[in-house]
């Protein structure tokens, strides 16, 4: 009879690994898992946000637009108020590349204008012999860059003594494209400033109402209910009508942003309040209270940062409303006033049906409005999805 155990020193009949035994081997994470596990919250949000392709594209689009408004003097081929009295209501010009079969680079044909004496309509015809190459990084209208220094460098300009209205010109012969680029500066910032006002109001009022509760909370809740039940546009109208006509345009601009913000904080305040109602019972709040932190510190330092990303997402979604609100107010003549130019002001030019019939290019400012609003909506959607990366 042989023993099941081999003699000392003899090899075992089955395979035995000589590697040291690691009891945690099944729990070892792959490279990828380690990366995810150790990523910061911000990084996780970024990863999640990146998956929402449309939101990513919208974000980049908006970033480019906001970058553009920093240098719109340089980007616009003409100045905001440059008038070309010879080219009133000129339709958009096409950019050509080939002249009689030869490649000459981007150029536009010169134009001659004829006044139709019956209808008083200006008819523009391309003058096929007059090739006007478009210049790049060129000297054109001089401007004061942000009111700081004089310059006349432009990204594109028309040929010397030529003209170039890629999106047509308006009743004073001003270039619509340049005006859209300048208008972006006002229209895009009005939403940001307005949302800042409403953000601050929403967090402060909603924060205190949610944290302290009691009478203040009751009053705030009623106020929110009232503000939400009054139709916003009549309210905007009446608030905008308050601003005296003697104010300078820049004051009116600030006033409009404050009005837009004043009526918009209710949604944010509600969100903050309901979040705080739940969070104020947490242990870490009690700890902070025991250590003697003031309520403003607890709200601002410990509670709000916890759901800041949600708030930013909510705020992003409400920016389009402000941009639309501004266009509506300006359109009705109660908002901004020239010489300040926003997209709403540009659209007032297209106020009547006859304009649409004869000069449809004056409707071009609608396109950036729509694009920006779509982009903000998509960006907000993406941010909302990314706001809670652990979900």
């Amino acid at each position: 009879m042989t023993s099941p155990i081999p003699a000392p020193g003899e090899p075992l009949p089955h395979y035995v690994s000589t590697a040291p035994f690691d009891p945690y081997s099944v729990e070892v994470m792959t490279e990828e898992q380690v990366r995810v596990n150790q990523a910061s919250q911000l990084r996780l949000m970024w990863w999640k946000f990146k998956r929402h392709k449309v939101a990513l594209v919208s974000g980049i689009f908006l970033a480019v637009l906001y970058g553009m408004i920093l240098i719109c003097e340089f980007l616009a081929p003409y100045n905001l108020h440059t008038r070309n009295m010879d080219f009133i209501y000129a339709p958009p010009q096409r950019v050509h590349f080939f002249h009689e079969g030869d490649f000459v680079g981007p150029f536009v044909y010169g134009r001659t204008m004829q006044l139709d004496m019956d209808t008083l309509k200006r008819n523009y015809t391309d003058n096929r012999a007059d090739v006007q190459p478009i210049r790049f990084f060129c000297r054109g209208d001089s401007y004061r860059f942000w009111g700081l220094f004089e310059s006349n460098l432009h990204l594109v300009c028309p040929a010397e003594n030529g003209q170039m209205f890629l999106l047509g010109s308006d009743r004073l012969g001003r270039d619509v494209l340049s005006r859209i680029i300048y208008g972006a500066r006002i229209s895009l910032t009005i939403g940001l400033l307005g949302i800042t006002v409403s953000f601050v109001l929403g967090i402060v009022i909603g924060g205190f109402a949610g944290y302290h509760g009691g009478v203040f909370d009751l009053v705030v809740q009623r106020l929110i209910e009232v503000l939400q039940s009054i139709p916003s546009i009549p309210l905007w109208l009446s608030l905008a009508a308050i601003m005296p006509a003697t104010w300078s345009p820049i004051f009116i601009y600030l006033g409009i942003t404050v009005i837009l913000g004043l009526l918009d904080w209710t949604g944010l305040a509600r969100a903050v309040r309901s979040k705080l109602l739940a969070l104020r019972e947490e242990d870490y709040v009690l700890a902070a209270q025991l250590m003697g932190a003031k309520s403003s510190r607890i709200i601002g330092r410990h509670l709000v940062p916890g759901f800041m990303s949600h708030l930013i997402a909510t705020a992003t979604i409400s920016i389009p409303g402000m941009i639309l609100g501004e266009t509506a107010l300006s359109f009705l003549g109660l908002g901004l006033r020239p010489p300040i130019t926003s997209w709403g002001i540009l659209l007032t030019e297209a106020k009547s049906v006859s304009v649409i019939a004869f000069y449809p290019w004056l409707l071009f400012p609608t396109i950036p409005v729509i694009l920006v609003i779509l982009a903000f909506n998509f960006l907000g959607d993406g941010l909302r999805d990314a706001a809670d990366p652990y979900k």
Partner: protein, 332 residues
């Protein structure tokens, strides 16, 4: 149930009081009053100004008294059905407003119905076919509906309706019916004109509603009872109609509260562009000329309309959903 209704109506009182205070502050805020702009206008036309008459008017309407007292008079008057006097039209406010308010209600009502008819099937389709091409396409169309400024849509529709149908679509009825009493012809004329503002005003609201209905229904569809029902062999449509849709209906009705202010605001702007005979254009004029009782009563009417709308939606919800009856308000 009766207690709930009474309680809801009682809550309306402080809300309306706060609104009236807010409205009064807003119309009081601009410097000067109607008489000042009136005098300036008369002077500009080179006419003599009868200061005595104006002084007596001022006293009659209490402009020499402190604002607080005037507020009390104003609210007290409204409670007795006296909405003040429009200086511009030289008529009591209720007579100036009358018809226009009804037309505003009519446009809002049709818009809500339109919004529902469009949003309901589309929302259900988008939720049940999530991430399909139809879902994406409809969402995009809806978003564009939100993104186009109301007044631009109005202008463009106006232009194309003129080209395609050859009708002028401004106004809410043929001009000859304007001062006539209600008749079948007038009603027909109104119905012929009303669809354009309804589409324009409804566009933005519909898109928002589709989005919310889709989100709500998706939440419900992912719950376990749906899986259970399906596992027990209930057909897809029957499961959908029987349970999740009913839950989503709740939100549909409670949404009147939030959609009504939006519709009324949208209607104001559209009305100005299309020169409809609703409250919008008149409100703007009244605000600009500081015809304060007219403007104030208008704002008050609009706010009252929405408060009533919210009340109706709350009551309908309470009928549908016993949980709300017993606990207070629904949570959205």
């Amino acid at each position: 149930m009766l207690r709930y209704i009474l309680w809801r109506i009682a809550v309306m009182v402080p809300t309306l009081l706060i609104i009236s205070a807010l409205v009064f502050t807003i119309i009081e805020l601009p410097p000067g009053d109607y008489f000042e702009s009136y005098i300036a206008e008369l002077r500009a036309q080179g006419e003599g100004v009868d200061m005595e008459q104006i002084e007596s008017l001022r006293q009659q309407y209490g402009f020499d008294q402190p604002p607080l007292l005037r507020y009390v008079y104003w609210v007290g008057g409204m409670l007795q059905g006296d909405f003040g006097y429009s200086f511009e039209y030289e008529l009591p406010v209720s007579e100036v407003v009358g018809d226009r308010l009804w037309l505003t209600i009519l446009v809002s009502f049709f818009t809500i119905i339109f919004t529902w008819i469009i949003a309901f099937p589309i929302g259900i389709y988008a939720a049940t076919n999530q991430y399909s091409w139809g879902d994406y396409g409809l969402s995009l169309v809806g978003l564009i509906g939100i993104a186009i400024p109301n007044f631009m849509l109005a202008l463009i529709l106006m232009y194309f309706a003129n080209i395609w149908f050859g009708t002028s679509i401004g106004h809410l009825m043929d001009q000859k019916y304007l001062s006539e009493p209600m008749s079948w012809e007038k009603a027909k004329s109104i119905l012929e004109h009303i669809w354009i503002p309804v589409i324009i005003v409804g566009a933005a609201g519909t898109a928002g509603m589709i989005r919310r209905l889709r989100a709500n229904l998706l939440d419900e569809l992912q719950k376990q009872y749906v899986v259970t029902a399906r596992a027990k062999g209930l057909s897809r449509t029957r499961t959908l109609v029987k349970y999740p849709l009913r839950m989503a209906l709740n939100f549909f009705i409670s949404d009147i509260g939030s959609i009504l202010p939006a519709i009324i605001s949208g209607a104001e702007i559209t009305a100005i562009v299309l020169s409809l005979e609703t409250t919008g254009p008149m409100l703007i004029k009244a605000l600009q000329s500081q015809d304060m009782y007219l403007a104030g009563s208008f704002l008050m009417f609009l706010a009252f309309l929405t408060v009533i709308g919210v009340l109706i939606s709350d009551l309908a919800l309470a009928v549908l959903d016993p949980r709300i009856r017993l606990q207070g308000r629904s949570t959205k």
